[in-house]
Subunit: 438 residues, 2 copies
């Protein structure tokens, strides 16, 4: 097999066999196939596409390029949830305790990563003493005992994906559905879950800006997952504005707690319940997603989800007092409002820019060495469709630096469009993709 | 300007500006743009194309990446002829003395290169003592005095093209008309000729196998040439069988001499006269190509072209006796015929394979260190459309090694298709492309 011929085949619009795709992934990972051949191949893939079989073959080859995690020490059906990423997305913090309180094991391996806020691990460090640096056997033990544990990612997951992604990132070959889907799914498959629930965000704050692209990505990932024997569901959720009202780290944890206390924002609750329902249904804890949703709702009403969160925080060394009183979290020193500069309705929010506002305040990482300020962030007062009068607060910003506050306020305001006519109401959820389709 | 954005632009099917194309060529040549970005760009070009302005910009940037030859020391209009390459192509040897004998300067710089036979320089070394290692001032002096000289290429012509071609060659990005055209034309433009006549071969022995592709390439090159102020013509000539009957080195020189003596093969004469007519017309030595053709024909009839060849060979240190008696050339020791294995008509010749037969005999270079045997090669007896009886000689092969002879005979025979029905007659010339089009 020669890489030249395989590039040529893809360039001509032909499909490659599983063996050919595996040859390419393995050859590039080992260094036998040079990057200039791989980038020509990736460009041909972007312009000619890959079919379902090729995409599955690529995903599997990338998954198998590193550690394939063995979760057999955990009792029950292992369920994983993954989000394509958005602003104000704290669903993991909400649904993990709910699902765990119903006996479904939630064994999360998380990284820190870059972004407008920290990752789930960073956010959980809002609880003083909380640590994810626990040994693997203790991690498995915790999951078996209380169904919920989070550990920092130490495994070498899908190094082929890492190497291919780095090349795509500098050769303008990122935006192909098959490549995006196989990149995400290779890591999920290597992570060992039997059931995978995907939260595919769509809109101005999502990687996929259009609904069509989001559906295509969801369908591709569900095809891959089921194609390799992992029960996979995708929920397409709105990201034309931040999810909930809180953006930041401890601010988001507080909102997750409020949601488990029964007074969280409606959109966050709806998305969390929907994702959680598919986790429960996939784990065979409920006969239908409707039944699963009822069960999850009850964990909020009876306090079992909130108690599960507290138990989990304590088990990993954290002070759980904020679970019952979010005022315990340290406060930023400068608190100011961003106010509307005209009357009207909020018709558009450039959601990426709200994320950038959090980053500007110090709530996220610009480089991997950045230090996150857990107390800064923002609380949104006016969301899409809300009527505003000039001078009304659009959001409250929390900062520890006056210059950052100034920059953040300008950035926040410029993300809003206020117009005289009330817009159509927005949806939280656009559809569910199962192996039967949308 | 960022290469990433330019790759993305081309991937999206947009056109790049002259400045952007120049940035890419210069950046890649200097090493600032890495090969993995360049190969992604080249693949995008293959799949999305380049327009006329982009192709011209790329050609000029590549031409200017190295030496731009100054031919101003040569009197008269400098005319260059270039062939895209074929089997048995000895038109340079025929038309150069004809054109020179009419006062048009022919200043050739030639390389040796790889192929089924040697280059023009190798072939001319069939004349004992002939050398192209002459100093530049002597070269110019010879051209001014007798209008014909050939020197080995020492200039650093279009290094960007060399570097880009090497990358295309390993990334399956060779077969794009714009890239092929700009590669050829960048070197021609750097070579300094004011008038460029292109011989674009088409058929089984040509780089372009189909007439449509050959026309497209011819049009692209004529557009580039005229676009940068060089008067450019392209003649599309047949390569569904070797040109003439001789394939080899001294064997081809002998056939060129026979043609200048007035008894060469009709197709070789026709193609040489056509190409030569455009050279003469372009150099303003004739009012029309018809008139030019008459003038050229006369140089054969009156012996002036043959005398010019002899004068030129002597001027570069060669023994010119073979110009008047081709039997002087050294003969290969083994001479055998390849015979038809059935009755019928020659309906198809895999022309590339006839070239390979010459290579197998030792007449060409497989690697740049190969030593060429000038005496070996073949003379074709039966061409397309000829009727043959089983046992008739299809060709005479000349070898100095029995094993090579055996392998070459098999290879030759397998290149022929002999069928019962007489095929349509073949053309020598399919069309002329000028700046007005085909």
């Amino acid at each position: 097999m020669r890489m030249y011929d395989l590039i040529n085949k893809k360039k001509s619009g032909l499909s490659l066999t599983k063996e050919e795709i595996t040859f390419i992934v393995n050859g590039f990972t080992s260094g036998e196939i040079p990057d200039y051949q791989m980038s020509a191949f990736l460009m041909a893939v972007c312009l000619k596409g890959m079919n379902k079989e090729e995409t599955i073959a690529m995903t599997l080859a990338m998954a198998k390029s590193g550690d394939m995690l063995d979760l057999s020490a955990i009792e029950g059906v292992k369920v994983d949830k993954h989000s394509t990423g958005g602003v104000g997305d704290k669903t993991s913090l909400v649904l993990s305790p709910m699902v765990a309180s119903l006996g479904v094991p939630v064994a999360k391996m998380s990284g820190r990563g870059l972004g407008h806020t920290g990752g789930t691990i960073d956010k959980l460090e809002s609880f003083p003493g909380f640590s994810t640096a626990i040994p693997t056997d203790k991690f498995f033990d915790n999951v078996n005992k209380m169904k919920l544990a989070i550990v920092g990612q130490t495994a070498n997951l899908a190094p082929a994906d890492k190497k291919i992604y780095a090349l795509r990132d500098v050769t303008a070959t990122v935006d192909n559905i098959s490549l995006i889907a196989s990149s995400i799914m290779s890591k999920k498959i290597a992570s060992g879950a039997e059931v995978i629930v995907l939260d595919v965000k769509t809109g101005s704050g999502a990687f996929m800006k259009t609904l069509d692209d989001s559906i295509a990505l969801a369908e591709a990932m569900v095809e891959i997952g089921n194609g390799v024997g992992r029960e996979t569901y995708a929920v397409i959720t709105d990201m034309n504005q931040p999810l909930g009202r809180a953006v930041g780290n401890s601010i988001e944890v507080a909102e997750a707690i409020e949601t488990l206390q029964g007074h969280g924002p409606e959109d966050l609750l709806d998305v969390s319940l929907t994702l959680g329902s598919y986790m429960l249904y996939g784990a065979k804890k409920a006969d239908s997603v409707e039944k699963a949703r009822e069960m999850l709702t009850k964990t909020i009403e009876d306090g079992s989800a909130l108690n599960k969160l507290a138990e989990f925080v304590r088990a990993q060394g954290g002070d759980d007092s904020a679970v019952f009183d979010t005022n315990v979290f340290p406060k930023a020193t400068i608190i100011e409002e961003v106010c509307a500069d005209r009357d009207g309705y909020v018709t558009k929010i450039v959601t990426d820019e709200i994320g950038m506002t959090s980053l500007v305040l110090g709530g996220g990482r610009e480089t991997k060495d950045s230090i996150i300020d857990l107390s800064v962030g923002l609380r949104i007062q006016k969301k899409l469709g809300d009527q505003v009068k000039k001078g009304d607060a659009l959001a409250t910003l929390y900062a520890n630096d006056a210059d950052k506050m100034k920059a953040a306020k300008e950035r926040y305001l410029s993300a809003y469009t206020i117009e005289p006519v009330k817009p159509e109401p927005t949806k939280h959820i656009y559809g569910i993709v199962t192996k039967e389709g949308l």
